[in-house]
Symmetry: C2
Subunit: 368 residues, 2 copies
């Protein structure tokens, strides 16, 4: 792995040098993880003019079997307690002879940025922008393999839940049960707060589980994901509780299914992000649900659950091969509930079989 | 509740006006919650010169029975999608005639701060500092009551775990089991990631659960907390697995217990924070464990699990009545494990019986 991290740092260094900075300070946790491997909480990465440092408040964990940061990196532990590793790193950069330091202005607070300036007044602070986030968009096969395992875990957890009795149980309990099963099957933990939504709550994006109990005739929508070796995936499905769905439920489900399929099928290298969004969105639009639609129909996943690219009507840019994204259109009708279908897929060229579906739980409308 | 929120906003407004700003923008989520009640994710609060606004990207949740923001506040929904409520609020402040806006520089990123400046170039941006955090330190009886219920829930969850069979179960599973029980007993959710540490991991501050299984003879240390109506409490206990603890385990436990009791007993209105820290710390120091001690022996709790005051050797300031804090000294011996004992208490005057212990699970050394 060490070569992978070193290569990523080289690419970032080239990008900073092109911007006129000989040194860079990476503070956003997912970016530190991407460039340095699993690091202690609060650790920052200094790409120095001569040498790179992982700067942290305490030593990396010494437990055997626990993930560790890249061993090729020098570790600098901030002396004393309560010191900010970012401030210490700026001091190191200044004493190391750097005259300019690129920082993550979208992550540093105004207060921390000022503390950096005052510890190294001779250092010009530049903005690295979203450079690391952009490097993270296209995944290597090792990263995709982690997402694939995470998706398998989420499929297993969901599959087991469907075999259990659901009527009478609360959204909260079902969500916790799913999270326990994710860990049972080897996840580091849930990729995000598991959403279970019943009846009128079903299909609400980002619904937080309540004490409402599952009833006969409900729509039940579930959205969960596993974190595996730091990588986060997502799956969402909607079911009907009882022997037979009502006509309106079948119609709404078929519509969202059609929209989701249209989105999935448009995932090809070179496709514009907004065209993928439109493919899914126009199915729902033309059925009269324009107002009920959320701002996005999908997004990238990786070390964070919501990364670039965003699949929205306003996104510029095109998809590349090896970019994992969700496709997750849904419709929520206030007071009645709704449907949401969400997969994680990897963009692949048609020659390789087209988009690779990671979350393989059935998308038939199951009556549970 | 509406009067409570209005009073809190009045106190903040006085504080800003004294600093020369007629308007203030509160962005830190726990601060927004404190001043405006439960608000949609990403919502910000504008204390305008004339009127206050809750500014959010979407409408507050309309589900019956769900907590809602203060109804006395006007709600401004950012038009379109993807707009930053903080930027919209700065625009509102400028059009509302404010010439200066106090913002939370310790929470706003450099990038967001710049966006505020560019949407309202005529507006002078000042720093509100930790003004809201300072208002939050002393709790009212309604807030303490939420913490008390949360502590009861955590006590129940822990008590049930102790009655179950522990040997052979992994740290991860025990942690998930505890979190499920917290929700069973009415918590909104865990107050922080539950820590379960066995054998050589026991007593490590902030230990993240691993796949290590509980063995005979282990120390087992557990740290958990419930969130109840937004308020977060904390309890930590250490047990021994098996019929009888070893001599070194008894000695270490007694020492940490003595330190923790010294800390608890020094919690009185007017006590210096660092004296409370010293009361606990010197017991461990004089037994030769100075190097094994963490940076703090306790901290405030409330809408966040780690608030002011900090109980450290370097903290200035004194405790007031009605401030809830943890007292949580511990010793971890690398390779052997350790002990951690953690309570949430409320500072009360001696006339009222002294510190109020919220987490009442026994602190005897139980062999499980």
């Amino acid at each position: 792995m060490s070569e992978v991290y070193a290569l990523r740092r080289t690419r970032l260094r080239e990008c900073c040098n092109a911007g006129g900075s000989a040194a860079a300070l990476v503070t956003r946790p997912a970016n530190v993880r991407y460039l340095a491997g699993p690091a202690p909480e609060g650790a920052v990465l200094l790409l120095g003019p001569a040498e790179d440092f992982l700067v942290c408040a305490g030593l990396p964990d010494d437990r055997s079997g626990q993930p560790r940061p890249d061993e090729a990196l020098r570790v600098h532990v901030v002396p004393g307690t309560g010191g900010d590793p970012a401030v210490a790193a700026a001091g190191l950069a200044a004493t190391g002879g750097a005259d300019s330091l690129a920082v993550e202005e979208h992550h540093l607070t105004v207060t921390r940025h000022r503390a950096l300036r005052s510890v190294a007044p001779g250092l010009r602070l530049a903005d690295i922008g979203g450079a690391v986030e952009q490097l993270r968009v296209v995944k290597d096969e090792e990263e995709i393999s982690c997402l694939r395992i995470g998706a398998e875990i989420a499929d297993q957890a969901l599959g087991e839940l469907l075999e259990s009795i659901l009527v009478g149980r609360t959204e909260r309990h079902l969500a916790l049960e799913l999270e326990r099963r994710l860990v049972d099957h080897g996840a580091d933990g849930p990729a995000f707060a598991t959403s279970v939504a019943t009846g009128p709550n079903a299909g609400r994006p980002g619904h937080r589980p309540t004490d409402r109990r599952v009833e006969e005739g409900d729509f039940l929508s579930v959205c969960l994901g596993a974190t595996y070796r730091g990588y986060r995936c997502e799956i969402g499905r909607t079911f009907v509780i009882g022997t037979a769905p009502a006509d309106w439920q079948i119609e709404l489900y078929d519509l969202v299914f059609t929209a989701q399929r249209a989105g999935r099928e448009s995932l090809l290298p070179g496709a514009a992000c907004r065209d993928v969004d439109r493919a899914a969105r126009q199915v729902l639009d033309s059925a009269g649900y324009a107002a009920a639609l959320p701002a996005l129909t999908g997004h990238g996943v990786g070390l964070e659950i919501d990364e670039d690219p965003q699949l929205t009507p306003g996104t510029m840019g095109k998809l590349d091969a090896c970019v994992p994204v969700t496709v997750e259109p849904g419709v929520h009708l206030p007071g009645r509930g709704g449907v949401r279908i969400d997969d994680t897929l990897v963009v692949r060229p048609e020659a390789d079989g087209g988009p690779e579906l990671l979350t393989i739980t059935t998308k038939e409308l199951l009556a549970l």
